[in-house]
């Protein structure tokens, strides 16, 4: 049992990583991956929504009529997104401004609805909690990885909450901060992960 719950938690991080293996939830993913701060903010918000909507949905899963389950899921998710968004507006206005419309857009993030439909509506609360948490962590880690690359190459330095971590004295490649950089880094990372995956199988 112990082993099993551990698996539920870690599968979201590696084996079924929502971004690199399932390729879900790309819109907020690429748009906010310009700096580590944004990545942490978006990752935390998405994990919060994912975790709590998984808990609520798994708690009431037997009471939800099958035919209208999707609208119910969406309403539950939208409520948690509203909470996250209001919280950010009140306490983290700078982050809220940087993330812009991508905070409310967590509602249509396919990962969250996908987990609700595929996992939380069929499994008990403990498992769904772990699943939601694992997927959220997987999402956040992937976001950190891509923002790390983009911020480092695009600005030549890394900053975390206003503190400069590293800076290199070379001309930064602006393009990595702009839109094409996100798509390029994503394409290269996907190819790399697939290459590693196929090596492992063989």
């Amino acid at each position: 049992m112990q082993q099993n719950s551990f698996l539920e938690l870690t599968k979201g991080i590696f084996k079924k990583n929502p971004i690199f293996c399932l390729v879900l939830g790309l819109c907020p993913f690429l748009a906010v991956s310009t700096s580590l701060d944004n990545a942490i903010g978006m990752g935390a918000a998405a994990t919060f929504v994912l975790l709590f909507s998984s808990i609520i949905i798994s708690l009431i899963r037997k009471k939800i009529p099958d035919k209208i389950r999707i609208p119910i899921f969406i309403t539950i998710i939208a409520s948690f997104v509203t909470i996250a968004s209001l919280f950010m507006q009140a306490y983290l206005p700078a982050l809220n401004k940087a993330l812009g419309i991508y905070v409310p857009l967590i509602v249509v993030n396919c990962i969250i609805l996908g987990r609700a439909e595929a996992f939380a509506s069929k499994n008990n609360t403990l498992k769904s909690t772990l699943d939601g948490l694992g997927m959220g962590i997987g999402f956040t880690l992937s976001l950190l990885l891509i923002s790390f690359i983009r911020e480092f190459l695009g600005t030549g330095s890394l900053r975390l909450f206003g503190i400069s971590l590293i800076s290199i004295p070379i001309e930064p490649a602006m393009v990595f901060i702009l839109a094409p950089g996100a798509l390029l880094v994503m394409g290269l990372l996907l190819g790399l992960f697939r290459h590693i995956g196929s090596k492992r199988k063989a």
């Binding site: 939208a78 798509l183 390029l184 190819g191």
Partner: protein, 192 residues
Amino acid sequence: MENLLAIIIGAIFVNNFILTRFLGLCPFFGVSRRTKPALGMGLAVIFVMTLSSIITWIVYNLILVPLNIQYLQIIVFILVIATLVQFVELFLKKANPVLHKALGIYLPLITTNCAVLGVAFLNVQENYSFIAALVFGISAGVGFLLALLLMSGIRERMELSKVPKAFEGLPVAFIVAALMSMAFLAFSGMIR
């Protein structure tokens, strides 16, 4: 009038929904393998986006603002859009079966298309008037169609070329999108 022109050019080229705002990426990669379904999807998006832009504008400005409950906008917008898509589907089925057959399978996908919801939020954020919201909805849809069509054309050609094994399918599609996005950066000086 000049303002509207700026909105049109802005939404189609400068801030293209897919290539610079990353809205609607899932259908962008999902249905861009062939030109014909890409066209169908693009037209369906223009249709729904225009309608939802108008309707969410009306709901926001005539219901949410007077009642002072703007904080409910996320829940209200997503439910309005989901209902709207259902209505459009039912209506098309009765009124125009040919069009329904052409667009039908794409309609349910549009509900979870972030681009449609994105238009609604951007309307609120930019404080657009009714006419501006209408124009913005249409041009955002046209920009979506444009990017989707270009992408599907490239991907059709790409099937004939040799791609390294690990990059087949999605990874190379991302890289193509990156190059397209880079080309669209050239428009960025057009409006401030």
